[in-house]
Symmetry: C2
Subunit: 132 residues, 2 copies
């Protein structure tokens, strides 16, 4: 990876030093999840060729798939017109969602409520072990 | 539209009362843009069947396409596992991006820099008039 400073200068981080990143399956177009990146997560993503985020809950770099094996191999890294959102085209190994579904967007509005539109493919216990 | 309070209770708004919303073309899967919604924008979107956002720069409800005609007709309204991101499946009339491109994500990392991967289809002046 070349020097990424020129790229980082194009990105508008928020007051917390973060920028939202959408992960999309590169071939099917399915939107898998949205998470947050800081400068280190962007650098790690581009250097390692896999999606890395900033975990706001754990306050730590989060190499997606590190404990589950559900890695997102990077296919393309895009930014939007005003540089405040990232779109990652990835090849998702396994499942993106910690609930054991392919995508995190498995709830849809129906009749004013929400209905689940995708099944659990693997239980969180099976993904993360009993410590999940 | 039925009472949307039960839906709103499932959504985790940030400290500013906002939640990020991804707009995706419902048939092609193309990710068009990301913007922000507050409670009023969600209510307007569901009531009117078209994407409405909260404009952080103008501090006002933003009915997408109001001045450009580039409306996003709502096809499906989804939320993610932890309720802090919305995914709108829409039918985008015309162009999503104020630069005159179909999608806001028209810049991709290449050789450590950024390259434009989509053309301007219509100039901003032609979309918004000289006052753009």
């Amino acid at each position: 990876m070349n020097d990424i400073e020129p790229l980082l200068e194009q990105i508008r981080f928020d007051a917390a030093g973060l920028v939202p990143a959408i992960a999309q399956q590169h071939d099917s177009g399915e939107v898998l999840m949205m998470a947050w990146m800081n400068r280190d997560a962007i650098a790690a993503t581009l250097t390692e060729g896999r999606a890395c985020y900033w975990s706001r809950s754990r306050k730590a770099l989060w190499r997606k798939g590190e404990s589950s094996g559900h890695v997102q191999h990077l296919k393309d890294f895009r930014i939007d017109c005003d540089g405040d959102t990232i779109l990652l085209l990835v090849d998702q190994i396994g499942l993106a969602c910690h609930t054991g579904r392919r995508s995190c967007f498995f709830r849809a509005v129906a009749d004013g409520g929400l209905e689940e539109i995708a099944p659990v493919e693997k239980s969180p216990e099976a993904i993360y072990g009993d410590g999940a």
